[in-house]
Structure formats: C-alpha cells, structure tokens
C-alpha cells in the first residue's frame, strides 16, 4: 500500500513536469572530401588535437556575462568536439590545400609511409559571447617528423557575428570560424 502511494505520488509529480527537447548539432564540413589527390611530396596528417576542458563536454557553451559561461543542457554537439573537430578540420584543410590530409596517424612501421608533416592543434576558446558573436582562439604548429623540428607555429583569434538568435546560428558561426582556422593552416603548408 505504501509503495503504491509513493508510486502514485511520483507518477503525479512526473506528470506535472514537461521534458524539454534535446537538440543535437553535427559538426561536419561542407567542403568536398579529398579522398584521393595528386601524390604529394610529403604525407600530411593531424597529430594531437586538444580542446580546452570547458568545451570538452557535449553542451554548446555560451558566455552569458563577463567571465560567466553556461553549458547548454538542451543544445548539444552530436559528438565530442575532440572527435568531430579532427574530421572537420582535416577535410577543410584538405579542401584548402588541395591535398589529402590524414585525420589520424596510425603509427606506421617500415613498408608504409609515415606522416612527414604533422599538424598539432589546440583549441583554447570556442563559444558564443554575450555580445552576439562566436569566438575562436586556437594555437597550432606544423611539425616536420623527418627533421624533427617545428616548421610553423601560429595562432588565431577570431570572432564572427551571429546571423540570428538561437543555437543553430551559433553553430553556423562557429563553423565559419573553424573554416578560417583551416584556411590559415592550409596557407602555411
């Protein structure tokens, strides 16, 4: 009897609250994929790709006030940024540089070509701001694995105004910023 009463109470409590819709956004490049290109002189691939821990969750991040951020609960990336950024940037850089960019290195041994040029990227900031913009702060290096030295070391701090209210516009603005980052990297290869 007690259990029934409790269950009934819980049921009533559950019925009175509505469940908000969960929106998921997929980060995929619109650029044409470079599955095969001209045989390049050097194999280029992405190395380590790290994202700041505050954007390492699934929720899209919005700065609500100076220094205050909120991770959205009902508006999330479809997959963690550290995963989707790898394929997105590899495809964008490949499209800009007109050559195949390996999204992952696989520790090749003799008999297969290993990555000659490795691109390491660190995303320090990627969020919406209170002033109606998307902001990207990234740092990247190009490493020559044959010479074992960094050949290019650079960073990017960019903002992009949102075209409309809402999270779809924020996602679109962030895509634009990431495309600019890919272009900056491709220009240095």
């Amino acid at each position: 009897m007690k259990s029934l009463l409790l269950l009934a109470t819980l049921f009533v409590a559950g019925c009175t609250s509505s469940v908000p819709t969960l929106n998921k956004y997929l980060l995929r490049s619109d650029a044409a994929p470079q599955f095969a290109g001209e045989p390049a002189t050097a194999v280029v691939g992405l190395g380590t790709l790290t994202v700041a821990s505050y954007i390492d969750g699934l929720g899209l991040v919005l700065e609500t006030d100076e220094g205050k951020i909120r991770e959205a609960r009902d508006n999330q990336w479809a997959e963690p940024l550290r995963e989707s950024l790898r394929s997105y940037l590899a495809q964008e850089i490949a499209a800009q540089a007109k050559q195949v960019i390996r999204a992952r290195s696989s520790g090749e041994i003799d008999g297969q070509r290993r990555i000659d040029i490795r691109i390491d990227i660190r995303i320090d900031e990627l969020h919406g701001t209170a002033s109606g913009e998307a902001r990207l702060v990234a740092y990247w290096t190009v490493f020559d694995t044959t010479e074992r030295k960094i050949t290019v070391e650079s960073g990017l701090v960019e903002s992009e105004r949102l075209s409309a209210d809402g999270y779809p516009a924020l996602v679109a603005a962030e895509k634009v910023l990431l495309r600019r980052l890919a272009a900056a990297i491709a220009a240095k290869l």
Partner: protein, 543 residues
C-alpha cells in the same frame, strides 16, 4: 400477692430483622467480590491519550476494561493508570502480559491506529504465557511489531553508525521481506547502535553463523574505469532504509543459530566481501625499526598468507606512559583472523590461534618481522613466522594486549647474520683445511686443462655463421620495437584513443560531480526532480 419472677426470653424476635439484613449484606459483598473483575495498575511515560472513565482496554478489539483513574507518580518519572478489567481476563494477567496505548502513528513501519483519531486512544492488551500472576505492569511506549509467540528468530545487530536504518524498517532476503527491525537503541557501553530484529518463519532457517547483515538503504554510486555503477534496493529501502542478509560466497556454511545471537551490521555488501570474518584477536607487536610505510590496514602475513591486518600504531598509548623519545620500541596493534587460515571463524578457532601463538613464542621461535611489501611504494607489512635460531621467550603485555616478540630485519638482521657467520668462521679448523687444500691444488692443474678445452669450444661456437647473424637479428628486433613503440606515441591512434577514453571518463566524472552537487543541495531531487532551467538563447546583436 407475690409477684412471679420468671426467666425472660433470651432472644427477641426483633433481632431477626438485623440478622437477615446482615446476611443479605454479606452475601451481596461476597457476590460483588466474586463477580467483580480485577483492578490493575499500568505505568506509562506520559498520559497522552489516557482519560479517566473514558479510555477503554481492549483485547482483540473486544472491550475488557476501563481506565478508572490516572495519577502522576511521586517521583514524576511516569504516570500510573488504574484500570478495572472484566473478571474473564483475570487468568490472563501474567508476568509477560503486554499493554500499550494505541494511538494514530505514522512511521517507517507504516500508518496505524487511524480509527483512534475519532474514537480516541485505547489500551491494547496482549495475553502472556508466563506462570506468575501480576497486578502491576509497565506499558510499552511503542506497540510490539511482532507477537511474542510468533515463529521465527529474534536477533541483535550492532552497527558503528546509525545510518538510515531505524525501527520498523524491513529485513530483506534477496529483495523479499523476511522480517523487520523492532527496536533501535544506542548501547552506551559498547558505543554502538543496537538493533533488535525479528526474522519471520520460514526465513529464520536461512540464518546461520556465517550469515552477514548489511545496510542497503539509499542509492550507492561507484565510478570506475569500467563505468558508472548504481546499486539500489527496493523503493521502500531507498526511501525508508532497510537491512539485507545473506551468505558470504567466500565463507563455508555456518551452524544453526538460536534467538539472541548477535551479528554485526555492515555498512554495505562490499564491506562484507572485504572483511568476511567476524572473529579474531588483537595482539601488539613492537618495533625499534622505522615504521615508514606501515599504515593501518597493512597486511599481517604468515609465509605470504594474509591472516590479519594492522589496526593502528599505539603512539598515543606510548606517549601516555611517557615513553616516547626514550628509544622504546613502538607498539603496533594488529588484528589476526583465524578464518583466513581456514581453521574456522568462531571463538574456538580464536582460542586455538592464541594457543598456537603462545606455544610458538615460548618454545618454537615464533616472531614478528617488519618487511617491505612493495619496493616502489615503500609499503610495509608484518610477517609472523618461526625462527628456530631464536631463544625461548615469554609473552609480555602492553595495555590489555598480548605482545608477540619481534626481531629486526633488513640491515640489522644482515648484521646479525654476518656476525654469526664470522663466529662460525673463527671456529673453523683452518690449519687442517690449508694442508688439505694443498692436495686439492695439485689436482687443480687437471681442472685448468679441462677449462681451456671449454674456452676453445666456445670460440668455435662464436665463429659460427648463426652466431654472426645475431647482431643483424638484434637490429631488426630493435627496428620492430621502435615501430611498435611509435604506435603508442601521443599522436598515434592508440594514444589518441586512450586520450579520448580518459577525456570521456573525465566528462563522466564531471557529470557525476554535478549530480552529487545537486543531491547535496537537494537530496530528494533523485525522486522529485528539480524544475529544469532552460538554456540561455544566444542573441544576435545588430552591427
């Protein structure tokens, strides 16, 4: 004329009337006395619900008496209710007869006495089965949850903490209700919480000396590399608390138990698996060596078999005796469990272990040593073993504990062994040995010739083609190893996959952190969810 004096009548007929009246009166008193029910007194902590002339006494919901008066005891410790009962229940007033006040109650055991809200409280009686007649009773403050003659087992559980378990909670066996907690008190002598429980028949047959009881209230969350594990009992136990019992798979089947047996209440099932044994003995071992790395919980072993643990270092007790800083050996309290040596987990096995230790120390060189358990972490353990070269010793005492003598290990032990070796060396007949050695040296020439032949064979082996190929194979192996190791580099797929897994684990732990924070702010939010706050909307600002 002379008057005639005659004898007067001795008994006047008029006296018949008062005599008859007296007889009638006596018969009425006797009749009243014979037909009147007994008057008893009941003692309660308060008179809450008791009203003279109104409060009834019931047995199986049949009225059998009425409260005549209520008075406060002279020492103000309780109230006394004088109750007039029907004559039919006179034979039921025995020394174990129970009385309690039935009021409306809402508790863990359920809701009861609803009818008394309108009809008023009454006193319920439960007949006893004793042999001594009684007129004064001390009433119960809480109604008994189980009748005295109910079939089953009455046991006692002891717990270090009260937790979420309280009187009225269910006792479960594999999730099925098998009994209840009747009372919960704090034993000031043992400094433990005491629970008197009742296991209903036929579940009482499942209880034996190996049975363990554990608290299964609330929800248990455990995060590990394998993911998040959530353990919870029934809805009743989550909200109200409860105790489960069962057998430890690591223990043999125990013997049958009778009512009155005491058990420990473990805080979780995991604790039972960690410490399955319930009988053991405390000892003290003193060391003059450094105790760095010896922590509470460190194992005590006999030839590599763990059979006890370090409880604590008795530095406070040593300080109380003023012996700190005097070079005195530092005592360490250990707890030995005979069950771990498969000799039984009962008081008899403990006695047997104590006898073995006593005999071993006195005449077989049983000693404790401090040994390094882990070279990397420096964790130490205590080993108890036989050292035949040790002289017989007596068991001393520190505080109330028996002391097992110890010997030093490591460099100190090495010094002892070197010293013993040198003593033996001095005792050797060296001169005779030297003369004998001269003879041996003569034979050594032959041995040298054999050795030269062996060296020649080795040279020919090394000049073999197979042997020459070894460096090339070694180089190939190193190249292969280099390739293998590159597969584990940070930028490799393996490294990236591992990094991703760690990031996922971190994200899971962060989510758990949020959940714990929410639960700490609002514990009932797991049942009654907090109204979610909607996400802030990014706003586009005009240029």
């Amino acid at each position: 004329m002379q008057a005639t004096v005659g004898k007067g009548r001795k008994f006047s007929a008029i006296w018949v009337i008062p005599l008859v009246t007296l007889l009638i009166g006596v018969s009425m008193v006797v009749h009243t006395w014979l037909t009147e029910g007994p008057t008893i007194t009941l003692e309660f902590a308060t008179a809450d619900g008791l009203e003279a002339g109104k409060t009834k006494v019931k047995l199986l919901n049949v009225e059998i008496g009425l409260v005549e008066s209520v008075s406060i005891k002279p020492d103000l410790s309780a109230v006394t209710a004088t109750v007039k009962l029907d004559p039919e229940v006179r034979s039921l007033l025995l020394d174990d007869t129970l009385f309690w006040i039935v009021r409306a109650r809402v508790g863990a055991g359920g809701v009861s006495g609803i009818s008394t809200i309108l009809a008023g409280a009454y006193i319920e009686m439960e007949p006893g089965s004793g042999s001594i007649k009684q007129q004064h009773f001390v009433g119960l403050e809480e109604p008994p949850l189980t009748p005295l003659d109910a079939p089953g087992l009455r046991l006692t559980l002891f717990s270090d903490r009260a937790g979420s378990v309280s009187a009225g909670n269910a006792i479960l066996y594999r999730g099925y209700k098998a009994g209840r907690i009747e009372t919960m008190t704090f034993d000031t002598e043992l400094r433990k919480v005491r629970y008197d429980i009742f296991i209903d028949a036929p579940f009482h047959e499942l209880v034996n000396s190996s049975t363990r009881f554990w608290d299964m209230s609330g929800v248990s969350l455990k995060a590990s590399a394998q993911g998040l594990e959530i353990e919870a009992g029934s809805l009743d136990t989550i909200l109200l608390g409860g105790v489960a019992f069962g057998s430890n798979p690591n223990l043999p089947l125990g013997t049958a138990v009778e009512s009155g047996k005491e058990f420990k209440l473990y805080s979780s099932y995991q604790k039972i698996l960690e410490n399955p044994y319930s009988h053991g003995a405390h000892y003290v071992v003193s060391f003059k060596q450094s105790l760095r790395g010896l922590v509470p919980g460190a194992p005590v072993e006999y030839r590599g078999i763990e059979f006890g643990r370090v409880e604590r270092i008795l530095i406070k007790e040593l300080a109380a005796l003023g012996l700190v800083g005097t070079g005195q050996a530092i005592p360490v309290l250990i707890y030995l469990e005979p069950g771990r040596l498969e000799v039984g987990d009962n008081p008899e096995a403990v006695k047997q272990l104590q006898q073995v230790i006593e005999q071993g120390v006195r005449s077989n060189g049983l000693r404790a040593t401090l040994e390094t358990g882990n070279l990397l972490t420096g964790k130490q353990l205590i080993s108890i073993d036989y050292f035949p070269d040790q002289e017989d010793a007596e068991l001393l005492h520190f505080e109330q504990y028996t002391v097992i003598p110890s010997i030093e290990t490591g460099i100190a032990r090495l010094e002892q062994q070197v010293s013993a070796f040198l003593e033996k060396l001095n005792a050797l007949p060296l001169e005779e040995t030297v003369s004998g050695a001269n003879k041996v040296l003569g034979e050594a020439d032959d041995t040298l010739a054999s050795l030269t032949a062996v060296v020649n064979s080795a040279n020919s082996l090394l000049s073999n083609d197979h042997a020459k190929a070894l460096p090339a194979e070694l180089a190939a192996t190193i190249a292969e190893l280099r390739g293998l190791l590159s597969g584990y580099a940070p930028e490799s797929e393996m490294g990236q996959s591992l990094g991703s897994s760690v990031s996922t684990l971190n994200a899971t732990l962060a989510s758990l952190d949020t959940l714990i924070r929410q639960l700490s702010i609002k514990p009932n939010s797991i049942i009654f969810p907090v109204a979610p706050e909607s996400d802030p909307i990014p706003e586009a600002h005009p240029k």
